[in-house]
Amino acid sequence: MLALVGGLLLPGVFLPVAASAETITVKVSKLAFVPASVTAKIGDTIEWANADFVDHTATATDKAFDVKLPAGKTGSVTLSQAGTFPYFCRVHPMMKGTIAVTE
C-alpha cells in the first residue's frame, strides 16, 4: 500500500528511518513522465512536477495511488511497499510510467 504525503498513515505502520529516504523527482512535460521509469526504495518519495498547462494525474494501474497534478504544480507519494507500480494519467491515458520499489 502506498500512502499519500500529507495523508494519514495507518497507525502502527512505521516507515524506515528517513535518514536515507530520498525524494525522486519525475518531470511531467509535454504529456510525458520524464523519466518514465524510476527505481526507488521503501520510504522514498516520488514527486511529480507538472510543467504542462493542463492538469494531469499519476494513477496507479492497481489503484494503489491516485495523485492529482494540477497544471504547474507538484504532487507526491511516499512509497511504503516493494513492487513494481505501473501508473498512468487518467485524463491522458497514453501517458505512462513505472515505479520499481525495492526493500
Binding site: L31, F53, V54, D55, H92, P93, M94
Partner: protein
C-alpha cells in the same frame, strides 16, 4: 438510431476532412486562419461537454466531460495569450464555418437523446471528433503553420487531444 448515429459520425469526419481539404487546396491556410480553426475546434468540444454535464447521469461520462472542459479551456487560454503576443488576429474561414455548422447539427442530435443512448452517442462522437481533429492537426494544420510558437502549441495540443481520444475510447469501452 444506431445507424443514424453512425451516419452522423461519418458525416462529421467527412465534413471536417472535406472542409480542410477544400481550404488547403484553394489557398494555403494562414496562421490567423489556423488559430481560428483551433479555437473553434476547442469550443465545439467544450459545448458538447457542457451538454453532457447537463444530460448524462453516468459518472465516467461526467468526469470525461469535466476533463474536456478543463483541458480545452486551458488550451484556448494559451492560444489567446499566444495570438495576442504574436499580434495575430484569428480569421474566420470556410473550415471554421464547416466545423461550427457540423457541431450545431451534432448538438441538435445529442439534445434529442437521454440516458444510455445519450452517453453512447456523446462518447462515440468524442472518439470520432478527436480522431478527425487530430488527423487534421497532424496532416494539415501543424505542417501549414508558420509561427514556431503556434506550431509548438498546436503540437502540444495534438498530444493532449490524442490523450482525449484514448480516454474517450476507454469510456466507450466501459459503456458497452
Amino acid at each position: 438510431m444506431k445507424s443514424l448515429n453512425r451516419l452522423g459520425i461519418a458525416l462529421a469526419g467527412l465534413m471536417l476532412t472535406t472542409g480542410l481539404g477544400v481550404a488547403a487546396e484553394t489557398a494555403k491556410l494562414t496562421d490567423p486562419q489556423i488559430a481560428h480553426i483551433a479555437y473553434t475546434a476547442d469550443n465545439v468540444d467544450i459545448e458538447a461537454a457542457k451538454l453532457a454535464l447537463k444530460t448524462s447521469k453516468t459518472k465516467a461520462v461526467q468526469d470525461f466531460a469535466e476533463n474536456m472542459i478543463r483541458d480545452h479551456e486551458a488550451v484556448n487560454k494559451q492560444a489567446l495569450a499566444l495570438v495576442a503576443k504574436l499580434k495575430v488576429t484569428p480569421e474566420d474561414n470556410p473550415t471554421s464555418q464547416a466545423l461550427t455548422k457540423q457541431a450545431a447539427a451534432t448538438q441538435a442530435h445529442l439534445a434529442t437523446l437521454k440516458g444510455a443512448a445519450f452517453d453512447k452517442a456523446y462518447v462515440d462522437n468524442e472518439v470520432a471528433y478527436h480522431h478527425a481533429v487530430n488527423g487534421a492537426l497532424e496532416t494539415t494544420l501543424i505542417p501549414a503553420t508558420q509561427s514556431a510558437e503556434l506550431k509548438d502549441l498546436l503540437t502540444t495540443g495534438l498530444k493532449i487531444f490524442k490523450g482525449h481520444e484514448e480516454h474517450a475510447r476507454m469510456v466507450a469501452g466501459k459503456l458497452k
